[in-house]
């Protein structure tokens, strides 16, 4: 049978018999601690080091996503040309077309969007009087055409 071990009969040590710290450790420790607590001449972004790792990751993600969003909203829209053209008065457009030798063909008209070709209302449903007035305004040769 084992001899029971009694702690109060064992020689008590001031601390476990572990290897002593390196030479001059306790002489250097105060200076090392003081170095850590003194405000250093940190760069302007030194506050980042004070943030926790998850917070830094979240901040980086926000910056990347924000960059994408900003580039998306700030990129020129494809309708700028159409908007600029719409601002030109109709008379000037007609003058330009008449001045040049260009003629609008049926093929050109076919490329116009329906909204432009038909006006704002795709189903005008004119009254008989309105229809007659429009037809009277047209040149005779186009009526037969």
């Amino acid at each position: 049978m084992n001899t029971p071990f009694r702690l109060d009969e064992h020689r008590r040590r001031p601390h476990p018999p572990l290897a002593a710290p390196p030479d001059r450790y306790f002489e250097q420790l105060p200076a090392r601690v003081m170095q850590r607590v003194q405000p250093s001449a940190a760069p302007a972004w030194g506050w980042l080091t004070a943030l926790s790792a998850p917070l830094r990751t979240a901040l980086a993600s926000t910056l990347v996503l924000g960059g994408f969003a900003a580039s998306f909203f700030l990129s020129p829209t494809p309708d700028v040309a159409a908007i600029s053209l719409a601002q030109v008065p109709q008379d000037e457009l007609v003058q330009y077309l008449l001045a040049s030798d260009q003629r609008v063909t049926l093929a050109d008209l076919a490329e116009l969007p329906d909204a432009v070709a038909l006006g704002n209302d795709p189903y005008p449903q004119p009254t008989p009087d309105e229809l007659q007035r429009e037809l009277d305004a047209l040149p005779a040769d186009e009526v037969y055409f």
Binding site: T3, F5, L7, R12, H15, P17, L18, A19, L29, M34
Partner: protein, 183 residues
């Protein structure tokens, strides 16, 4: 330099650094061995001791003197140790006993223990205790700290500490007896 003098000098910005330097010199050895007993490894202990004193610096101005400066610093060091061991366990998904086994391995490599089988068994038995019970054991057995001071350090009642120490001693004695060479 007395604690009260250190505290009053620390409150004066002109003498703050000198006072804190004195504080570190006064308590560094006690704090180091308190931490070292918990984490065994010197490098880990070094990091934790520095972290402890950095926290002391950051909060010393708001120290209300409900407890003595000595027990307050011990409490910070204790919390640092317990957090460190907990995070180590979580990081490596280790159960309670495996951290003890890892610390025991470091202990076996320690030259100071070479040849002293009973002491080695005793140290292994202590490392097998749960962290908080080991803390109580260390404070009482090695530091011979009164239970009232231990209560301030650990935030536990005196009765609970006495019971914890009693159980720890029983466990240690049982382990050393069972693993003794005198089979």
């Amino acid at each position: 330099m007395e604690d009260q003098e250190i505290l009053s000098k620390f409150r004066d910005p002109a003498s703050r650094n000198v006072a804190f330097n004195q504080l570190v010199r006064k308590y560094q050895s006690k704090v180091y061995w308190h931490v070292r007993k918990m984490v065994v490894d010197h490098d880990d202990a070094d990091d934790l001791v520095q972290d402890t004193f950095v926290k002391v610096w950051n909060h010393l101005e708001s120290f209300r003197q409900d407890a003595s400066l000595y027990t307050w610093i011990y409490r910070i060091a204790t919390n640092e140790c317990l957090s460190f061991l907990q995070s180590k366990r979580r990081r490596f998904f280790l159960p309670l006993n495996d951290v003890g086994a890892e610390l025991a391995q470091k202990l076996e490599a320690d030259e100071q223990l070479a040849g002293d089988e009973v002491e080695l068994k005793l140290q292994k038995a202590i490392l097998r205790l749960p962290d908080k019970q080991r803390l109580v054991f260390n404070l009482r057995y090695y530091d011979e700290m009164p239970y009232e001071q231990m209560a301030e350090v650990t935030g536990t009642s005196v009765g609970a500490l006495k019971a914890s120490y009693h159980h720890a001693v029983k466990k240690v004695e049982q382990y050393v007896t069972e693993h003794s060479l005198n089979n």
